[in-house]
């Protein structure tokens, strides 16, 4: 990469050179870091909010005092509230990103997301401002959800459009690495603060500390995002004058079938993801009578192993294709969900950890490839919008409701196997769109779906 055009900064020239099909790996890495940080912050917030000790604290600080089970459900309801706003965020930020560029929109979303999380840490409780407390908290959660709606689609699009074609799976897996890392950071920080401060101080003011950490993380992410150019694919599209005049209209008119297919696959992803990451820590405590610390350690341990394998699995998908991993995960969930939860019912830490690890192991097969798979389902001119809309509609309907639905059904039915039944059902449903989508590994992202597209990698399984 040279900078012979006079006073232009290095990163400006890097973007221009990439627009000419050259791959500058340091710039790609910067783009991957910038994208993954947003996801990291989103799931940092989740890790904090859904930690077992935090769900009961939030449910009591911002609401009138009640039973701990009720407090947990209220927290889950607040988690669900954020998801209501996500599709609207996707519909707003997605087409905007297709019109004005990914970079500007992603700078806005990361600032909004981290700022909202920070505000939770400084909100007064019910005891101070009465009914305004839960209402303000709800408003903040809706803002978080709105910004998150534009975040994931844009981050995945940015990585997919920056990554070299033959390593899109490898670089795409860093997005979900950010997810897991953010979640572990959030849950781990809550655990550390809880252990360090003790129950009383944790309940009084210690619970605010993890939320306050989100803002500096967000500012770092914002800084990195402003230091890179927009994606080469978007720049090429701009230069060739192929931008959609009305991305939202074109998305809904011409790509609604692909959006429905995406919703079908994201259904399994979200139910598994949110069940494992949001619901399971509380499931272990409330329904399996495990202590907080053990439950958190099992959660963090399984996710640490997932972090270790996610990038190699992403690299594997560049060789054998995305569909074999997605198919294996779907069939695995259909066959192994019940045995996994049966193992957890033994109550023995080893059995619980093994059952948890089975669910986590199957989930990581999906997480490793979605960063590369989903953006490749749409053409460049509507990619951000179409992906954001489809992903967030599915997340809103099935991800946000997973914890509340499963928790309520367990209480109503009295059986702890409800999560297993739910996973089996969604796995069977997701198997259909997984078989329908084309294989896109090793196909340049600009040429997917065109007659000039080369043969995809892998077996086409």
């Amino acid at each position: 990469m040279s900078a012979h055009s006079g006073a232009a900064p290095g990163h400006e020239r890097a973007g221009a050179a990439l627009a000419k099909d050259e791959v500058d790996l340091p710039t790609v890495r910067k783009a991957v870091l910038a994208s993954a940080m947003g996801n990291c912050i989103e799931w940092f917030d989740f890790g904090v909010f859904s930690a077992g000790v935090m769900t009961s604290i939030i449910g009591t600080v911002f609401f009138p005092s009640g039973e701990s089970g009720g407090a947990t459900l209220r927290s889950f309801a607040l988690i669900a509230a954020a998801f209501i706003a996500r599709p609207f965020g996707g519909m707003f930020f997605g087409p905007l990103g297709d019109r004005i560029g990914r970079k500007k929109v992603l700078a806005a979303t990361i600032l909004l997301m981290s700022g909202s999380t920070f505000v939770i840490g400084i909100l007064p409780g019910y005891g101070t401002i009465g009914v305004a407390a839960p209402l303000l908290l709800l408003l903040v959660r809706l803002t978080q959800g709105f910004s998150t709606g534009g975040e994931y689609g844009g981050a995945a699009t940015m990585i997919a459009e920056y990554a070299p074609t033959d390593r899109r799976g490898f670089f795409g897996s860093f997005l979900e690495l950010g997810t897991l890392a953010g979640y572990i950071m959030g849950a781990g920080l809550v655990l550390l603060v809880d252990l360090g401060l003790g129950e009383d101080r944790m309940h009084d003011w210690g619970w605010r500390l993890p939320f306050l950490v989100a803002l500096p993380l967000g500012l770092v992410g914002l800084y990195v995002r402003t230091r890179i150019e927009d994606t080469p694919a978007f720049q090429r599209m701009e230069e060739e004058g192929e931008k959609a005049r009305s991305p939202l209209k074109e998305t809904l008119e011409h790509h609604w079938r692909t959006i429905v297919t995406l919703i079908g696959i994201v259904l399994l992803l979200n139910v598994a993801d949110y069940t494992l990451l949001t619901f399971m820590p509380s499931y272990l405590v409330d329904f399996l009578d495990m202590d907080d610390v053990t439950a958190q350690l099992i959660t963090i341990g399984v996710e640490a192993v997932m972090i270790a394998v996610i990038v190699p699995l992403g690299a594997l998908s560049d060789r054998i294709g995305r569909k074999p991993l997605l198919t294996t995960a779907a069939i695995g969930f259909a066959l192994l969900s019940f045995p996994a939860f049966a193992l957890m019912q033994t109550g023995h830490p080893a059995g619980v950890a093994l059952g948890y690890a089975i669910i986590g192991g199957l989930l990581v097969l999906i997480l490793a490839v979605i960063g590369a798979t989903f953006p490749a389902m749409f053409p460049t001119k509507v990619r951000y919008g179409a992906f954001a809309i489809g992903y967030n509609v599915s997340t809103s309907l099935f991800g946000g409701t997973a914890a509340v639905l499963v928790g309520s059904l367990i209480t109503v039915t009295g059986t702890n196997y409800v999560p297993a039944y739910y996973l089996v059902l969604v796995a069977l449903v997701a198997l259909v769109p997984i078989r329908l989508i084309p294989e896109t590994a090793k196909v340049p992202i600009d040429r997917i779906g065109t007659p000039q597209a080369p043969e995809a990698a892998g077996s086409g399984a």
Partner: protein, 155 residues
């Protein structure tokens, strides 16, 4: 003992996919071990592992065929590249090919003295050899041969 051709083919194929087959066997063994667990856990786990082994082996076989095809394409391209380089070298060295001869057949430009006055396209006829000149040349050639033979005998 002579191995039948079909058996030999199968053995060659197994040798080619030895590592993958070893992994399949290992996974089947693990599946059998999983059957020792209670049926609620053991059967689905064993089924999944066997499915993984079969599916993974199919992926491996298809990938192998694809790799072999790509390698054959690379070999063809290398051969074509070599042939083109050779042709380039030959042309650059100045050796004229038959095709070049056919396209580069220029009309000979006559010398000025051979050009007939008044007819630039015509040429004069060459002088004919007369008999006296022919006899003189034959005599000179015979003397030269005798000298050469004498010189050989002296040597």
């Amino acid at each position: 003992m002579r191995i039948p051709r079909r058996v030999n083919t199968v053995l060659d194929w197994m040798e080619k996919h030895f590592v993958a087959l070893a992994v399949v066997v290992a996974l089947v063994a693990v599946a059998l071990l999983a059957m020792l667990a209670p049926p609620l856990v053991g059967l689905p786990v064993a089924g999944f592992i066997v499915g993984l082994a079969v599916g993974g082996f199919l992926v491996h076989v298809r990938m192998s065929k694809r790799v072999a095809r790509v390698r054959a394409d690379v070999d063809d391209l290398l051969r074509e590249n070599g042939a083109l380089r050779h042709r380039n070298t030959v042309l650059a060295s100045g050796v004229i090919t038959r095709e070049a001869q056919e396209t580069q057949a220029f009309v000979a430009i006559p010398e000025e003295e051979d050009i007939l006055d008044g007819d630039p396209q015509g040429t004069a006829a060459l002088p004919e050899l007369i008999d006296d000149l022919l006899e003189e040349d034959a005599g000179k050639a015979a003397d030269e041969d005798e000298d050469t033979a004498k010189n050989h005998r002296r040597a």
